[in-house]
Amino acid sequence: MRRTIVVTFLITLLCAPLFASSPLPKSGMEPITVRMVGVIQPRDVEIVITDEAGAELTSGEGLLVFDFPALEQWDVTQSLRFSYSSHLASNKRGYLSFQFDEVSSDDNDSLRVSLELKSDDRYNTRVENGNTFNTLFVAGYQDTTPMGTLTVRIQKNINDIYTAGLYSGVISMTYTEES
């Protein structure tokens, strides 16, 4: 009996190669690899100004229109919001300063105008000298990040006498970066 088992085992061994399939060739079977590259380019600071209605001031000049009430005294304001978007490789500090000329009429009457600056991001923007936003532009992708709000206030006291007519003035902005 034992010999029969041995013989059967040997015959099985003998026949096994007959059923083996031809293997894939080893050469050329290695995994293949390709590297792909993507680049995120830095994008400089872009300051966006929006008015109280949320409209973006896109051109180099914006127009603010004030309607003065027919009262003995009044206080009218309009605000502009400043925000920025950027994609910087490293932090950068910038200064946005405001100056205004007199708002006057053709008769040389000048209105009482003041600018009020308020930071909308107390961690990265602070107001300096009452007329400058000192902002730290943070590295990395920044999408519409608030800086601050500029409010233009025009007041008339009871004792002020202004002639009727059109008054106009200019507010200019200057942006500088820390070198």
């Binding site: 040997l10 060739p25 792909m36 590259v37 993507g38 995120i40 490789a89 990395g140």
Partner: protein
């Protein structure tokens, strides 16, 4: 001698003989002994063949390729993968693709589109270890070629640091 022992010895002899039998290489043997006939033995082997890779402009399959330094975030890379095979074992080519990495920043893969003929297969949820079948092969006695276009679309780069990111696409062969 015992009959069973003779059978056993015979079987052993055949078995041992099988160990030395090989596929052999193509060639010819020629023996000539004095006073005997000259015998020439000819052997031929039909071998299996296989190669795979990324197709280049000249139509060859190269083992590696790159996307020519093109910015993948601007234009999603598109590669043509193919194989030529003739053998008795079926297989599937399976790809993995990593996210685009730059240090700890990773831009995920939004989708992989595999086009075979006119049929698009889109895979949307992809991690570094996701295995995506590309092409399959069924055993054939003639040389078979197949190819697929692989398009890798990176995800959003919003919030990611500025810099150069790299992704690795690998294709392995998994036999049946």
């Amino acid at each position: 001698m015992n009959k069973k022992l003779i059978v056993l010895a015979l079987v052993l002899l055949i078995a041992v003989g099988g160990l030395f039998a090989g596929d052999g290489l193509p060639g010819a043997g020629l023996t000539a002994n004095d006073g005997s006939a000259v015998t020439a033995t000819l052997k031929g082997v039909i071998g299996s063949s296989f190669r795979h890779g990324f197709k280049t402009g000249d139509g060859l399959y190269q083992p590696t390729a790159n996307n020519d330094g093109q910015d993948a975030f601007t234009t999603p890379p598109q590669l043509i993968y193919g194989y030529e095979a003739k053998n008795g074992v079926g297989f599937t080519s399976v790809m993995t693709v990593s996210g685009f990495k730059n240090g700890s920043n990773v831009v995920d893969i939004a989708s992989v589109t595999i086009t075979v003929g006119d049929v698009d297969t889109v895979k949307n949820t992809i991690t570094d270890s996701t295995e995506i079948p590309v092409l399959t092969y069924t055993p054939s006695n003639s040389l078979v070629a197949a190819e697929a276009t692989i398009k890798v679309t990176p995800g959003s780069t919003e919030g990611k640091d500025v810099g150069t990111y790299e992704s690795e696409l690998s294709i392995s062969i998994v036999t049946e």
